[in-house]
């Protein structure tokens, strides 16, 4: 259903044009996700094994594990995307680019899993 004249709707579309988010925002968001992962990991690290004997204490570490797991993989994907431009600039051809992408992905995964101990 259209309420206004086509010309007016076109003007409205122009006035309310979608806005590109600033590059710093994406970087900040990805950092925040990364910090969230580390918080979840800290929660697990700080947990005394003894406390686990009481089932009432199980909820928090399980929740932390779920959050940490999700953020870790999401973060990995985001980091790989962020470094794509750098790889592209450094690659001589497509095969080289694919090799660098795989190598970076493996490196990021290793760093995330190492941090989790």
């Amino acid at each position: 259903m259209s309420a206004g004249s086509p010309d007016f709707e076109a003007l409205l579309r122009q006035a309310l044009r979608p806005l590109e988010p600033p590059a710093e925002l994406a970087a900040r968001l990805e950092t925040t996700l990364s910090e969230l992962t580390e918080l979840a990991q800290d929660e697990l690290d700080a947990w005394e094994l003894g406390a686990m004997r009481d089932p009432r204490n199980w909820v928090r570490p399980v929740a932390a594990a779920v959050i940490g797991g999700t953020a870790g993989s999401a973060l990995l994907a985001l980091r790989i995307r962020r470094t794509h431009r750098r790889r592209h600039a450094a690659s001589s051809d497509l095969l080289d680019l694919a090799g660098r992408t795989l190598s970076d992905a493996a490196g990021e995964a290793r760093r995330i899993f190492e941090r989790r101990g």
Binding site: A3, L11, R13, A15, P18, P21, L25, I67, T70, A74
Partner: protein
């Protein structure tokens, strides 16, 4: 099921993939909605960040409840609720919902500016003066390109109610802009 069980791991992997996809596909939508809603880049950035953090926390449940429908309305609804909280916390509405026109003009091309900067500015001012639900429906329709069904879901209304809301919003806006043109002429 023990942690690390293959099916649990693949479930997490799928959830991660869907979150990353959601983030990539809708960062611009959430940012655009936030900007046109709060009227300045600083708050729009904060609102966008908070929206994705909330989405991240509740994605699993949202996926379960969405039954395969697109998640954009859910995401925009989070931004809508957070913006409402922002105003409530500050106990005021911004004096102008939209930043000065220099900033607003930034996303438009030089050609647009030459052709009708003033007119676009008047339209934005008129959008800003609409009642909240009408203003939001127009932002969703024109800045985000959402259809009536998506807008209905984001605003928690029926499809029919969203249809009427958009119709009335455009009509009211066109009348206001027309009146202004008449006054200026």
């Amino acid at each position: 099921m023990a942690p690390g069980h293959p099916s649990e791991t693949s479930g997490k992997t799928e959830l991660d993939r869907q979150f990353t996809e959601l983030y990539r596909d809708h960062l611009r939508d959430v940012y655009s909605y936030s900007y046109y809603r709060v009227g300045n880049h600083h708050d729009a950035e904060d609102l966008t960040e908070q929206t994705f953090l909330q989405a991240y926390r509740h994605l699993e449940r949202a996926l379960r409840e969405s039954e395969g429908r697109p998640l954009r309305p859910w995401l925009i609804r989070i931004a809508h609720n957070l913006a409402a909280n922002l105003y409530r916390d500050r106990s005021r509405k911004p004096t102008s919902a939209l930043e000065d026109t220099t900033v607003l003009a930034a996303p438009h091309t030089t050609e647009d500016l030459a052709a009708g900067r003033e007119e676009l500015r008047h339209i934005l001012e008129a959008v800003d003066q609409l009642p909240g639900d009408r203003r939001e429906a127009l932002i969703m329709r024109f800045a985000l390109g959402m259809d009536n069904r998506e807008i209905a879901r984001a605003l928690g209304r029926t499809d029919g109610a969203a249809n009427v809301l958009i119709h009335r919003a455009i009509k009211q806006l066109e009348e206001r802009v027309g009146e202004r043109r008449g006054t200026v002429a």
